[in-house]
Structure formats: structure tokens, C-alpha cells
């Protein structure tokens, strides 16, 4: 749903986003105003295979990047949160690789790839940010293999919970089906593992789909003993 145009100069998440560092004269080079959109939970932001005409900066909510198998199966290969960019492949003139779906109410800025690419050529500040974005996307994809697709169920779940946990050590957890699609497990296995975690008091339900986490114990379960592994949670996004 269209939600007006963004005023980049007063953007409340400016420091986190693509246009961080940009100076006034840079904005003058953007031909069109930046439209904002709001998506309901479950709605598609863009489908895999679509010619990518734009990238999307997430301003609010969580976006899942889903790959749909030919047999209807689905695998989530990325989760984007505030400040992340979705559909970066559009900048290379390629169709979207995955389908981007809003997990809750999602607010985005839609930025035409044409505009970004034009500005890229003349603004070293945007250029720097773009390289950073490509890097983050690549790093996150590699981490996904290691953290979400490796090890046994309880280890993967612990890593996902830590990934979702904020500073309050609490996290929103979404449908069992989606958790399964993230971790490459069936929803039954996910449920059983969550139940085990609750019994072991690693997590405790606060309200519907929202729980408190014993991060210390989870980190141990995830195999992040002290330093050795970098925390995948460090989203520079």
C-alpha cells in the first residue's frame, strides 16, 4: 500500500540505511521522490523472477526471503530487519532471486535501481554504502549456511533464537512452519525442540509468540562458547 513520499533529510533511521553519509547535494541528483509502502503480514513485496526495477529499504518489520521449490516446499534463505536492503540484485540488472514476503506489518522505502545506479557513479558516499550492502548480503548468506543449515535441530534453533533476540533478551517467534523453513526442519521437529527448550527453561513464554530467552544458556547450546565464533547477530545493516 502506497504511504506517501519519504523525506530522506529527516529519516529517523537514516544512520542505518543506504543513504547514510549522503549530503544534500547528493539528494538533488535523485530524479524522483522516494515512495514509501506498507505491506500487511503475509503480503508479497516482490516475487522471485520479477525483473528487478527497485530495491527496498526496510523501515519497520521483518521481511523473509523465500525460495519456493518446484514441489511447493519452501526454504527461507534470509531475514531482513530494520535498515536492511531487500532486492539488491536489482542493481545488477537481474531478476529477484527470491520472493520477499512481509512477516508482520512492514514499512519500506522503494528506491528505483536506476536512481541508485545513477547516483552510484557520482557519489563516493553512496558508492561506499553500496559496496557495504553487497558485502553484508554476501556475508549474511554465507552465515546462513553455517548457522541455520548446520548442526542438529536444537543447535540450529538456539542460533535462530539468538539471532532474533534483541537487547532485552526477548524475541518474537513466528509460525512453526516458518521456523522450519528457516532451519530446514519440519514444523513437528521445531515444536518438539521448542517444547524441550521450555522445559529446560532456556526460554519462557511471555505472551503469544513472544518469549524471554536465557541467552547465556542458548549461546552455550548454539556452540558460541565465549569468543571463537562471530555472533551472526552483528548486523551492521
Amino acid at each position: 500500500m502506497f504511504d506517501g513520499y519519504a523525506n530522506c533529510h529527516q529519516c529517523d533511521i537514516r544512520d542505518f540505511v543506504l543513504f547514510a553519509e549522503l549530503i544534500d547535494s547528493d539528494f538533488d541528483l535523485i530524479a524522483h521522490p522516494i515512495p514509501k509502502y506498507i505491506y500487511e503480514a503475509g503480503s508479497i513485496i516482490y516475487p522471485a523472477g520479477d525483473a528487478g526495477q527497485a530495491i527496498f529499504t526496510v523501515r519497520h518489520g521483518i521481511v523473509k526471503l523465500v525460495y519456493f521449490g518446484p514441489d511447493g516446499s519452501q526454504r527461507i534463505v534470509g531475514l531482513l530487519r530494520v535498515g536492511s536492503v531487500a532486492g539488491i540484485e536489482a542493481l545488477a540488472g537481474k531478476p529477484y532471486e527470491q520472493t520477499a514476503i512481509a512477516m508482520d506489518e512492514v514499512h519500506v522505502c522503494r528506491i528505483a535501481s536506476e536512481d541508485v545506479n545513477r547516483l552510484d557513479l557520482v557519489s563516493p558516499r553512496l558508492h561506499r554504502q553500496l559496496v557495504e550492502r553487497w558485502y553484508i548480503s554476501l556475508r549474511d548468506a554465507n552465515n546462513w549456511i553455517i548457522y541455520m543449515s548446520t548442526g542438529e535441530a536444537k543447535v540450529r534453533l538456539a542460533r535462530l533464537l539468538l539471532y532474533l533476540t534483541g537487547i532485552e533478551n526477548e524475541c518474537e517467534l513466528f509460525s512453526r512452519e516458518d521456523i522450519g523453513a528457516v532451519l530446514g526442519l519440519t514444523s513437528e521437529t521445531v515444536i518438539r525442540t521448542i517444547t524441550d527448550f521450555k522445559e529446560a527453561r532456556l526460554i519462557s513464554k511471555k505472551k503469544r509468540n513472544y518469549c524471554k530467552c536465557d541467552t547465556k544458556a542458548l549461546r552455550s547450546m548454539a556452540g558460541y562458547e565465549s569468543r571463537s565464533i562471530p555472533d551472526p547477530n552483528q548486523h551492521t545493516s
Copy 2:
């Protein structure tokens, strides 16, 4: 091992590499000559965590990108072949994410990230190639999740074999340990699955670690019925 300097103008794989499209005046802007290196099978091209000062274009051989777990376990998150670029994260000024190891005799060009970044600003041709490289790296990483880390052992192995198979429908297969690290399986499971494939005549040994593949049957096993799934083998690299 240092192996002299490359003559980019007469590069035999020029069409595939980063410097495709470049014109003579572009090369004038590269401060230093491009050194070539040769690595023995098993040697480290760069270790994870190292400050990335350069990227590497693979001229010959296969390079594995390995993540080493704190417990000594290892997971291969990418395989690079002729024309691919290793260590692209260096361009973002970041340390290398994985350890790059030569699987056989590997020849590379070492290109200082400083040079690439300087040229990036002034050559639209190189810039285009760089965006393409980031895209390919990201796409490959996402495909890795879907093709090499999803489904049961025989499906994953079939996909790996197809990934390795050249036009001759023959492929070099490396150590069982490495195959396991690619697919997230133990070497025993890999061996048993290979044995099954041989008995089912999906593959037949030609010589040591080299076999002929029934690609049609493998594609069916891999779940690539007709078109539906894009073939991960399409390396635009």
C-alpha cells in the same frame, strides 16, 4: 608461488574475468603489474580473518572456500572455478570470511583491492563487472543453501555431481571428506551414496577420482525435472 606478471592484454581467459570489457586506457590506470601465483593442492591462498588486501582471479584449478568451526569441523561454503573471483569481501575493506584452499594445482592473478577500487571510480566498464561479481557471489551463496544444504543425501550428491559435470558429462570428484564438507554430510554417508549411484549406473568410474555421469538420471534424482529449477551450474563467472 610467484609466477611472473600477467599480461592482461593477451589473457587467455580475459573474456571470463573481471577485466573483461576493459579498454587499453583502463589498464594504464593500474599502478602495479598484476602478479600471478601458483598454489599446490592443499595450500592456503588466504586464511579466514586476514585483512583482505587483494582479490584473486582463478585462472586454473578449483578453490574451496572453507569455514572452520571452533571444534575443528569444517564446512565448504563455495567452490570457485576458472574465471571466478575469490576474496571479493576485500573490496569492502573487510577481512576474508573464509579460508581459500587450492583443491588441485591452482593458478591465480592477485589484484590489489586498492587498485580495483581506484579503477572502479573511473571505469564504468570495470564498475559494471564488479557489480556483476558481487551479484554472482551472492547468488551462488544463496544457491548453495538451496542445492547443497537441502534435501536428502542422494539428492544433494546428485546436485553436486551435476554442478561439477562439464560438457563431456564427466567430472572430477574430490576426497570423500571434502564432498561431505560441501554437502553437510559425513564421509561414510557420502561413500555409501556414491556406491549406490555406481550400482544404479548413475555414475561409472573412468579413473581415479574421475567418473562419467548419466546427467539425465542425475537431474531427475536432483529434482531438476525439466525446467522448473534453474541449473546452479550456469556460472556466468
